[in-house]
Each structure stands twice: as C-alpha cells, then as structure tokens.
Symmetry: C2
Subunit: 175 residues, 2 copies
C-alpha cells in the first residue's frame, strides 16, 4: 500500500511540474511587441518545479526501496529502527518542503490574480487568462500530491512508532 501511495504521489508531482513547466502564453501587447509568459517569470513557480521534481525522485527511490530492502512493517533486521527513523524524518522533510513550495506559489498566484492596489502591484491574470487557469489546475494537483505525501508520512510514523512499548517511555518492544 505504501508503494501504491508513493506512485500516486509521483504521478501527481510530475503532473504538477509538467503543467507548470510547460505552461506558456504569448500575448501581443501592442501591434509589434509580443510578450511570452512562462513559469520562469515568477521565482516561486520556478522553485516549485524543481522541488516537485526532487520530491518525485525521492519518492521513486522510496518505491525501489519498498521492493529491494526488507519490509520494515514485518521483518526486523538489526538496523531496522535507524532505517525507520530515517525514513520517517525524510518523509516529514519532503512533505513540508513540497507543502511550503506550494503555499508560496499559491500566494504568488493570488497576487497575480488580484493584484495589490495599495502597493500599486497590478494584476496580470486578466491578460494571461489561459496561463493562469493552467497554473491554478497545477496547484490543485500539487495540493493533492501533498495530501498523499502526508498520508505516506503517517504510514512511516506508524511503521516506526508501533515498535515502541506502550507502557515504558521510548523503549523498544521485545517481540
């Protein structure tokens, strides 16, 4: 099940990265000047593409791990508790990174949609409508990926903490 969730999150992360990365719209501003909007115009979107790619690669490595390394949910090699801690912390770091990147990109997109009048930041999405709708869809996709990754990190927490004794503080169970 863990591998399935990770594959699902890879699909959504790659979909988000592609939707953002391949989005572009050219607009003729005057009769002779045309301007092309792409994700490189906004730092937040640029960072988002790279972080989504990195998270997808990380999840791909974890999928391989699910098949190659002993199953931590059942087997108990001597080093299992360090592995379980490592995977738990890596999963947490990954989900927070992806979530932060998406929240920042969402905030930047809100500025692009609404503008900020008292700062004289003008809105841009009235000009590049199709571009902005695609970014919006990508962000929805990305938040779904975040949700799946949060569930995956809960599974890592389950795999790690079920090894501990319910009575004594931070003591491993015998059997």
């Amino acid at each position: 099940m863990e591998a399935l969730l990770r594959i699902l999150s890879i699909i959504f992360l790659v979909l988000t990265a592609c939707l953002v990365g391949l989005d572009s719209q050219t607009k003729v501003l005057f009769h002779f000047i045309s301007r092309k909007a792409s994700f490189k115009d906004l730092n937040a979107l640029y960072v988002l593409v790279w972080i989504d790619t990195a998270a997808a690669v990380y999840n791909l490595l974890q999928v391989f791990r699910c098949y190659k390394l002993p199953d931590l949910t059942k087997d108990k090699p001597p080093y299992y508790i360090y592995l379980a801690w490592g995977f738990y912390l890596l999963d947490q770091a990954a989900v927070y990174m992806v979530f932060a990147a998406h929240s920042a990109a969402a905030q930047a997109s809100i500025f692009a949609v609404t503008g900020q009048k008292n700062f004289q930041w003008m809105k841009l999405c009235d000009k590049y409508t199709r571009f902005c709708i695609q970014i919006g869809g990508a962000l929805l996709c990305g938040y779904f990926a975040c949700l799946v990754m949060a569930i995956t990190s809960s599974i890592s927490a389950y795999v790690l903490f079920k090894r501990y004794s319910p009575q004594k503080f931070m003591v491993l169970k015998g059997n």
Copy 2:
C-alpha cells in the same frame, strides 16, 4: 514534556502574532501626505495573525487537556484510541495550517523586499525598512513555532501508533 512543548509553541505563536500585529511605521511621502504601513496592508499577514492566534488557542486547550484528561501515554480508558486519533489528526491539521500561513507570508514578504521587475511590482522595503525587519523577525519566530508544533505532532503520532501491534496490520495490542 508534551505540555512544555505546547507552552513553548504558544509563546512563539503569540510572539509572532504580536510582532506582526503591532508592527507599524508611518512615513511622510511628500511634505503633507503621510502613509502608515501596518499588517492590514498585506492580506497574507492579516491571515497569519489570525491563524497564529487560533493555533495558540488550540495549543492552550491541549495544555489544559494534558492536566484534566487521563494521560494517554499511560492510562487506557475505553475511548483512548479515538482520542489519540483525534489529537493526532488535529495536531497535523494545526501544524500544516500554521506552516502554510507562514510560507505564504514569507513569499509575500519576499515580493515586498525584492519586488518583481518584469511584472512592474515595485519593492516597498526600501521605504519601510524598520517595519520589514520586524516582520522578518516575526517570521523567524513563527518558523520556530512551526518546528516545535511539528515535534509535538510527532509525539501525538508516537502516543497513537505505539498502541498498535508490531506484527499484525492495524491491530491493537493486548497489554
């Protein structure tokens, strides 16, 4: 220990909310027009203050729970597993909400510091320097609160998942 961590996160959340909420700087733009910068100018900061306050209240309720309700790390009332799941999910929701609010506010602040030339969004922090430095300090504080809340939610995960059997999938332990 859980109560101590929660009190620590309350302190930092309240500190963040106060630093952002009480921050203001008045600047004379021309000889007769003066303009006051406050957190209400930027939606992201306004939302941040309210979410930080809500998270602080939530953590305060949880601190009272630590003293009033039976200790879930040791006792086992019949309803304990539902409580443990509830607290785990609430903690997760709280930390992700606060983290999203901080990331959005950080992104908005980056725009205020650097501007975005190709969008003709001008930077503002060269005019309101003291205001911006205080917001920066508040965001640092807030990220520290996020870290403490993430640790707290790990403790909730530990309290919940250590009740489960290490062999069988999602089966509670006997003793």
